[in-house]
């Protein structure tokens, strides 16, 4: 049996095809202006890899931006919030996990699940994009490096220069300000990652994290943010061997599998 999951984010979109209880194929692309286009492209990509078509999926679930339209267009049969999907996906890769910190391009969420991967509680950033991947993107651009380099660079830091400005957009100038005064990019990178972790902690506190804890979403790839979060929580987080960005789509596919029984 084949199940599909599509997750359209603010920056990247993913599709996962699940065969019974294993990831059969997956794709990740940069988003297109229209979420439905993103969904169609990324799903087609994941299917094509194994020579499949939409018809071969017995159930497909969409999540993320435009999840309802994607369903209306017939690419999926049901839509689910990203929150449930990340919870489910993370639980599948790490059954012992109870708290998931998911940080994407514009959203930061902390999700608590039970022993069956069902949602127990969650919080999500609301008014402000200050503690999201977008902050890291803007910052790395200002430092003239890629977002992938931001983590490694900060491990070379002599000291940590934290950002004081709340606004993601304005931290840009703050970085300029420090660079003008001769600060080293490594120290700034370390500060940026710590600032990021501090903002995420504000959300983490709201749910009261319970062990075991893990991270999903693109920012999970930043080792320095991860370390800072661990330090702030006083506990280690679990890692896994699946790309952290596909966890949402994976969760959607898992839910598709669950729902098939109910909906058919």
């Amino acid at each position: 049996m084949l199940y599909g999951g599509i997750d359209v984010g603010s920056l990247t979109a993913q599709a996962v095809v699940l065969k019974d209880n294993a990831i059969y194929s997956f794709q990740s692309i940069r988003v297109k202006p229209n979420p439905v286009d993103s969904a169609a492209t990324v799903l087609e990509g994941a299917l094509k890899e194994k020579g499949l078509t939409l018809k071969d999926l017995c159930f497909c679930v969409s999540t993320g931006y435009g999840r309802e339209q994607i369903q209306k267009e017939g690419l999926s049969r049901e839509n689910m919030s990203e929150i449930s999907c990340h919870g489910k996906g993370a639980w599948w890769v790490l059954p012992q996990v109870r708290t998931i910190i998911d940080i994407g391009g514009q959203d930061a969420k902390v999700i608590r699940v039970d022993k069956d991967g069902e949602l127990v509680n969650f919080v999500m950033n609301d008014k402000c994009a200050a503690g999201t991947g977008r902050f890291l993107d803007v910052m790395s651009k200002t430092l003239g490096i890629s977002v992938e380099e931001l983590g490694p660079l900060s491990f070379k830091a002599q000291q940590v220069i934290e950002m004081s400005n709340r606004c993601s957009i304005f931290c840009e100038t703050e970085v300029h300000h420090y660079l003008q005064r001769g600060a080293s990019p490594a120290d700034l990178a370390a500060g940026i990652n710590r600032t990021m972790a501090g903002r995420v902690m504000a959300l983490v506190r709201r749910v009261g994290p319970e062990k075991e804890i893990t991270m999903t979403g693109g920012v999970a790839k930043n080792q320095s943010v991860r370390k800072e979060l661990e330090k702030a929580m006083g506990t280690r987080m679990l890692t896994y061997h699946v790309d952290s960005q596909i966890i949402g789509a994976l969760g959607a596919a898992l839910i598709a599998r669950q729902l098939r029984g109910v909906k058919q």
């Binding site: 919030s81 990203e82 929150i83 949602l119 127990v120 509680n121 969650f122 999500m124 609301d126 008014k127």
Partner: protein, 369 residues
Amino acid sequence: MTVLNSLTGVIKNEYVQQARARGQKIVGYACLATPREVLDAAGLFPYRLKALGKGETEMADAYLSRFNCGFCRSCLQLGLDGTYDFLDGIIETNGCDHLRGMFENWQYAAPRSFFHYVRVPHLADADSMRWFVEEIELLIEALNEHFGADVNDYKLNKAIEIQDQIAAKMRRIYESRWGGEIKVSGHEIMSLMVAEGSLPAPDFVKLLDGFIGTLEDRKPINCRARLFMGGAATDEIGLIAELEQLGGLMVADSFCFGGRLFLREAVAKAPVHRLAEIYLNNLMCPRMFMNYPQRKAFILEMIEKAAVDGAVLFHNKFCDLHGIENVKLKMNLEEAGLPVLLLEKEYGAGADIGRLKTRVQAFLERLKR
């Protein structure tokens, strides 16, 4: 429904225009603690201030700050931009610190000739009741003097009677959802509540009768989960409608524009005392101190009767009263076995609706619905 839509879509509705045409004076008030009957008895048209989800506040923000509740900022904006120019007077209440600020700035920037402060106690003990009785008497005096009204017990009793009728009818519609099938959605109920403060009482009775007449023929609404909603004073019907589209229907609430409106228990017979009791004893609002247990009991009872599956508690950003109350309420509702979602929101149509919907959808998923 069109009458209702026109009432909840515009501030200066047709009843306002008619009242102006016939020379009836219109007096604005904001808080549920304002004894409307006194205004009715004075022959005035009590108009409850609302902002209908309008989120533009640039004029208000020159007075109030970013750190004030958006509902108050929006109301002040409408006061300053001329929308509320039809009001012949305003009654201030010390509902919360933000509301006080809203009134003060309004009176500072665009003064009215009639501006009366009804000081509502924050306790409901015997001393406070005496104080509130005096407040009502002072209000009567002020109205008599300024508008040449002649408020007497007879008129007050009449007005109380009409409001009792309204409450009974509202209750009937409200509780129609508790039996089984839901024929009236939560946002429709909210429309009625918002309409209530937008037209004279006798007209509202007619409107309610019309509405009740249609109940029979209505089709049941699909319902994925039965929700309780509570928190901030909000008249954002559109917001509730959007959230209900996700399938969770609001079947009970404790909004200020909502289920608290028709609580009217009182024992005193003399009208002024009776009014004081109606308004002070039944003010299930977090601004009241020492009676949280009462509020909790009121909400738990409603939740039980309405067979609710989960609760969504809102507060406007920077609202202290609901911001704190909701945390306590969440703890107590969860103790009672009910899942709860806390939502902090900015007042104003559509602001971040997508993000609110994601959270509500996840909450419904959590409820397994």
